[in-house]
Amino acid sequence: MNAPRSANALRRAIDNPPPVVGVGTESSVTGLDRRSVGFADVLAQSVSAVAPSAAATTVPIMVAVAAGSASVWAIAAAMLLCAVVASTVNQFTRRLAAAGSLYTFVAKGLGTTASSVTGVAMIIGYGVIAMFALTGAGLYLSFLLDQFAPEVAASGLVVPICILATGALCFFVLARGIRLSTRVTMLVESVSVVLIVVLVVALLAVQPAGIDGNLLNPTALLSGTVSIGDFAAGAMLAITAFVGFESSAALGVEARRPFAAIPRAVLWTVMGAGLLYLLSTYSQLVGFETLGRDIGSSTSPVNELASAYGIEWVGILLDASIATSFFACAIASTTALTRVLFSMGREGLLPNSLGHASATNRTPIVAIAAVLPVLVGVPIWLIATGGSVWFAMGILIVGAASGYVVAYILLCIAAPVFLWRIGELTLWPAIKAAVGAAGLTAVLVAFLISEGATAQGGAMWAFLVLMVVGSAGILVLRTRRPWLHQTIGMHDETVLADVLGGDRQPEPL
């Protein structure tokens, strides 16, 4: 590298900042509380969207049913894949701040058509995961209620009423403002993660035998005891435990130092959640093996383990922690969902009123009011028609994960194109994006092939139909409004106040 030329230019620029042409005084996403949220709040957004404690107690059993003795490996594979995707998401989060997250990012790489498809996938993903979380919160609230007032909890109406109450609380928190939302979620999620770790440690501590090497032995996978299809189905279900890690990207406008805070939050979330899942899955599998029981036959494995090992008190704490974790997840997913709708409203793709931010609380209040009734209504309808809460949740989680995975695949394709467009494409990011896109597609296809005939497979088909209908609708809208080409992909541009000497420059005409 050359020796620095005398530091004249920098000195001159500091003394007399030259005018900067092409930077406005206001960002296109003005209205949100720009540059107001610190790193902890940004991290809290991603962590709560993932809901690690709820996932750590519910996903291992789902994975174990599919992947059997290769469960730990399926989760490790999902973690690796999500880390690659996170790193690809960060190619964008390091370079632009946006409220629309993946939807905006894909627009920057692949243009407005792919971006519209991503937008539909994300609306489904965020929306359905919020429904899933509201249902989960309602279910675990009803478990808690059962401990204290069993006669009330016996009624079939309890879960729907709990869902309704949780939804109302979500509305209040979301409407009050982004700081309150992220702080509440952070508190709730930290408490529940601590509870889970305590439980896992307690479970491992009461194990008679030490570490069981069999569960970590990859031979089950290599010898063909576990088929590739089962392994992929396990990995797909494990991915459902990670989805949402990118959601802090939706706070690009509101984060104080977005280009530092968001990439860090996205990657840390995947790593932290992954370690928690590995630990929790391993301890649950060991626990069931020691008991000589099959984890797949359990309905609430952690509770059963807790009582089998004589630590029932953990069960109540656990129900409370899972309910709070689901509540945090509902808030975080709805936050991300409303930011996407807000962006689409601003761009003119959806009704303008969705892009309206409340003047007092600076939140996208119309978008919040529009989605919450749907988020509460659909799960209640599913429970009413499907008959069981678990049935509804099993359907919802697969639908949500499919939405995320499709959006992640499109993002991985968009990243190298975006980097090439701005002249910053290098080898490693391209390789990571290719691995991410190929890996996710393989898992998605393998899941469809192996589970296509089951109810969960049906959820994915329903998702695909929704995708096609939604994308077609948006494409029709786009042909009617050709000017959308100019507005889709709106991000939070640098404004004069961010630029050296911006406060001394005349306003542009």
């Binding site: 030329r5 530091a7 920098l10 000195r11 007399n16 930077v23 280009f259 640098t494």
Partner: protein, 226 residues
Amino acid sequence: MSEGDLSARQPKAIHSALTVLEEVARSGAGVTAREVSDNLGLPRATAYRLLNLLVQDEYLVRMPDLRGFALGRKVVQLAGLVTPQPPPRAARDLIEDLRERTRGGVHLVRYDSDRMRLVDPDPDFPLSDESRILRQLESSALGRLLLAESGRASPAVTVSIRTLGYATQFGELVPARGCIAVPIRDSRGILVAGLGLSGPVERVRDPGRLLDELLRSGRDLGPLLV
């Protein structure tokens, strides 16, 4: 993480980062990552990583097209690292001339948004406590000028500067010595620099004809410094 993050933590990275900042300043707003990498002869991956780190820390900002870069507002904080540029010849001549006719120290400072930098201190009459003067703006007349401009001075000081058109300080840094500071403004009236006169309190309190000369020099220096 990649090996790149490791090298970015090495001391050489600071040198590289300043070189990149310097290059963006030299090329002007809108310079692309590829141009920076070509102009500096840096490997692409290294240049892109440095640029993104500087964007992360907000020393650089991306232009709305996302391809180009410009210096961020935070660069002002580097002012302490970068030696101030000496004032142009005509300005130095004017100050020299004033010094020859004055028995006392004549000092020139520049103002950034919230700090003051000494650009041309009087070599014959050194400042009493340079670091304190630059740190505690309320202690000197030159500092008070900046505080009053940004609305951070005490009401008494602000009123005095408004009525007199200049700032004063008597015996607060060193007993029996004081200072007068006149503002230097650019064509839009923004305070860019200050011209200070220090000396015994009695001379500073009653400067007579010297005050007019100081005020006139302040007006003449405006166009020379911008």
